[in-house]
Symmetry: C2
Subunit: 288 residues, 2 copies
Amino acid sequence: MRDVQTRMENTLEHALPPLSHAPSRLHDAMRYAVLDGGKRVRPLLVYAAAELVNGSAPCTAAAAAAVEMIHAYSLVHDDMPAMDNDVLRRGKPTVHVQFDEATALLAGDALQAQAFDVLAHAPFARAADQVATMAALARASGSLGMCGGQGIDLYSVGQTLTLPELELMHILKTGALIRASVIMGTYCGEPMSSEDRARLDHFAKCIGLAFQVIDDVLDEESDTATLGKTVGKDAANHKPTYVSLLGLKGAKDKAAELLNEACAALAPFGERAARLQALADFIVERRS
Amino acid sequence: MRDVQTRMENTLEHALPPLSHAPSRLHDAMRYAVLDGGKRVRPLLVYAAAELVNGSAPCTAAAAAAVEMIHAYSLVHDDMPAMDNDVLRRGKPTVHVQFDEATALLAGDALQAQAFDVLAHAPFARAADQVATMAALARASGSLGMCGGQGIDLYSVGQTLTLPELELMHILKTGALIRASVIMGTYCGEPMSSEDRARLDHFAKCIGLAFQVIDDVLDEESDTATLGKTVGKDAANHKPTYVSLLGLKGAKDKAAELLNEACAALAPFGERAARLQALADFIVERRS
């Protein structure tokens, strides 16, 4: 995992326009938002899924970089005053604090375009796989995916959500991009059957939800220093969470159930899916 | 042209998620930002360029819708308080005024994703052309294109730009997407030689700049009611314009020169480029 994370920094470093290119302040902000931060869960998933198809190194790297750029842009915009108004992210000032709001807005916009740019210029053996990769990323990013989940989140402040409603929100908000990471990885090498891809999609759906359940648990249990971002904001904003709906123990049980279901979906792949399995464990057992 | 504009409304209507889909407020804002507005210059250019390659109807429609969604999202974000803080666009309240800032931010983000989604799901005969179309749109939208131009614009407030600096800004800010429109159209049908595509790119570069020069002229000569947006903002913000650098007559002469150069680039195509020619004339002669 650490090996992929190190390679990822290098890939992202080269997939972003250099500071020497105008406007350098915008490129500075884009690099600030993406480089040297985060657990790189989505890139790790792309790499782990690509192992199942003997993924080409440059295509896997491009897919991993693209999904991380989408994730990073969503954090930049989420942190802005119009949304969560957060000043701290990964232990550093958020982009609009470090730069300014207009730059944060533009940097986010440019990162989304850069994600598709990187994919569109990767050396895929089959252009149809390249299109499928971009299709998965676009659908997962837009209003039927991540942005839609953020919208439901936004409009749910102060509302009482049922568990199915909360689940739909998170399946879109966090889950869509996690699922896309796995699916994108499967298009980076040899052809995969649609049955196998559906199994992996179910795996990814489960760990995507588990990721969010654990996020809510950590938000309740951890402190700002460990997490690197402001804790307790959801409760303060009267946002529904798994912990508020299920209690702390209920939420932990839910995460364990989802992990089991995810592992079951991997069973037919045997040893080849060891890395995906390890990532699923990591997602549920992480402390930050 | 009116025929394409009418078809375009219909295409965009179907290319955007329906209001019935959650979150409906987000989809309402996306539709508000895109439908029933604007001259559709970029879609018209896509269609006119696609005529040169007997473009497939659904692919041309998808390319036209995609580029218009990118244009529309850029206006939504541009109008926000953190950027131009504009309350009027196409004679209607801007998205953040009609809805709210968070919704405007998300709607813009989701529209950018939707643009790539639409392209990724269009029935291109050759996947390589589909990738090329998406590559052109991504490059034109990001920090080496439109977002980069907006950044240079942002950081130039109160600065004295030289004519080449102003030109670079506009080649990126407005020109990149106009060039992409023409290039995308050429990938929607039969193969085109790279020489022909380069000629069309030069044509598009000239009319892209002419478009901005005329924008500056109209901002000086017109009134808010005719233009449907607040006039005189650039002067009020001490932003450099072609009129401030060249004077009104100088700017008009510049536009005429660019139109001539654009027409010269079209000459080898003869009658087949009649519609591109008509669009170039329209861009320079428009009154709003």
